[in-house]
């Protein structure tokens, strides 16, 4: 493992422990990476203070995508919130739809038909595959392996075609509604899904050969961004970042929701806890999702309703209460904290995205002493999406 710590003698620590960074000394340079930068994960930025080509301090800046969802939802009825939540996360919007719907159903006491649960699980796994494919392209691209992104984006597009025929939209599906899902699977869906899954598997084999067995990638990813397992609780680390550190933390298994208790799987873990390990966890997790989709299609009931009867949504009121609903998305724990006050509008919705802790405190910790050229790779390895930080 490459030793990154204490490579530079600067900056020196002051007596109180803070860093003695004097911009006028000429030793340091302030460098903004983002928001308009090819090596940034979406529309966000890190304010780097560098000494030579080494980062001595990094501060995450977000808010470029802030639309005030939590405020907007307070003035939308419960059904009107449903189309807006998915916009909180572009690459994997369905988790918002699921968490919101589940929270509303819990507080309103709505029973969801069993088949809807299966279809929801299917959609969440499809979304996970999409998200991971994007990640793989980004992770490879951050280390200069542009071709991986060309392949995975194509594979992801095939999955988007499946999304389109199932949900009627490519990106923002607006399919998981409070009460169930909008519609049943279309005819012949299983067959086309199987073809897509096979294409994805073959793409992944190519990715494995050219990325994971690539000297360049190994050289740069191994040892980069080491996360100590002890930080997992301290920093609220979830998902593949935690699993890459050997902590088998997976909401799907720990607190099974939807139909995960009826599927066979084991959380994927790795112990090296660096960028390479996290990429590998995600690659294997992706393959697991492929398997889960096959299990779902094989086991799900084909008869029955997909939507519960809702009260007239125009005057839908939910009694006072609060709850938290979580799910395991591709980046970690996604959760909705919903407070209702008996009116027709949510009192408060708080969206807890995994990037909130990963891209802020954890990134700022990991980024110290990293070479500038590796900042992008490090950020991607935490798999952050800025809109779920600022909402």
């Amino acid at each position: 493992m490459t030793e990154y710590s204490n490579r530079s003698q600067y900056p020196q620590a002051r007596a109180d422990g803070s860093l003695d960074i004097d911009l006028t000394s000429g030793k340091y340079l302030k460098l903004w990476q983002g928001p308009n930068h090819p090596g940034i994960t979406g529309n966000m930025s890190v304010e780097l203070t560098v000494c030579g080509d080494e980062v001595v301090e990094g501060k995450t800046h977000v808010g470029y995508l802030h639309r005030g969802f939590e405020k907007l939802m307070e003035r939308r009825t419960f059904i009107q919130c449903f189309p807006i939540v998915c916009r909180i996360c572009v690459p994997e919007p369905d988790f918002n739809e699921y968490c919101y719907a589940a929270a509303v159903e819990e507080l309103a006491g709505i029973e969801v038909p069993e088949k809807a649960d299966w279809i929801r699980t299917l959609i969440l796994e499809m979304g996970r595959i999409n998200s991971y494919l994007m990640y793989l392209g980004g992770q490879a691209g951050a280390f200069g392996l542009g071709v991986i992104g060309q392949w995975t984006t194509y594979a992801r597009d095939l999955m988007l075609d499946r999304f389109e025929e199932l949900t009627g939209a490519r990106i923002y599906h607006m399919f998981i509604m409070p009460g169930g899902v909008r519609d049943d699977l279309p005819e012949g869906f299983d067959q086309r899904m199987e073809e897509t899954l096979q294409e994805i598997e073959s793409t992944l084999q190519d990715v494995y050969d050219t990325m994971f067995r690539n000297a360049v990638f190994k050289k740069r990813a191994v040892g980069l961004g080491y996360v100590d397992p002890a930080w997992v609780d301290e920093y609220g680390i979830t998902g593949p970042v935690a699993r890459g550190a050997g902590v088998a933390k997976d909401v799907r298994r720990d607190q099974p929701y939807l139909v995960y208790d009826r599927l066979d799987f084991e959380p994927v873990i790795a112990t090296e806890s660096d960028t390479y390990a996290r990429a590998d966890v995600r690659r294997r997790d992706l393959l697991m999702s492929v398997d889960l989709i096959r299990q779902i299609l094989a086991r799900m009931p084909r008869q029955g309703e997909v939507m519960a009867t809702l009260p007239n949504v125009l005057h839908w009121k939910i009694p006072r209460g609060e709850t938290y609903v979580r799910g395991e998305c591709s980046r970690g724990e996604y959760g909705y904290y919903l407070v209702t006050d008996g009116s027709g509008y949510p009192r408060r919705v708080n969206v807890r995205g995994p990037s909130y802790t990963h891209a802020m405190t954890l990134l700022e910790k990991l980024i110290v002493n990293v070479n500038i050229s590796n900042v992008a790779g490090l950020m991607v390895s935490l798999h952050t999406y800025p809109p779920e930080i600022e909402r």
Binding site: G63, R75, D233, G236, Y324, R347, N350, T361
Partner: protein
Amino acid sequence: METLYARLKEPFGLTDWVLQKPDLCFVTVAREQLRPLLLHLRDLEGFTHLVLLTAVDWIEEDRFQLTYLLHDRAKARDIGVRLMLPREDASMDSIHELWPTAATYQRELREMFGIDFPGSPRVNEDFILEGWADLPPYRRDFDTLQYAHEAYAERAGRETRDPARHMKEQLYPDGGQDD
């Protein structure tokens, strides 16, 4: 969960216990008991993971509710600790030494609700908003629609009619009785 509550109720003066679902409960605690309670939960009860820290504005009751949601990984359960703060000049003790991530949450609360957390790192820096000069936007008394109307130009030419009123104008404009 029940036994946990029974054990902690007396020493920490917990109230308003709600078992929302088998693995999630909410309790309310007084301000001075919060830190001991969080420490106890983290170090002795296994609630090692701070899931979220957020606020709810109960403007009618003139107070903020802070919610600290903690997760126990081993037993797969959560506890939400509620704390009520007066709305006026709201300020709360920072818990960033217990969980470093709390600093981010506290920065957001400072910006979006105007709740101060003295001592929390970078708490007064802009976090999400930039150059914001109005009421903290997540407060209930901040009207986002009105603000949007006043601050940002909108495209002209939108109008709408109410069906019932339009029918009245068309079919019985004098408001008279008809069939």
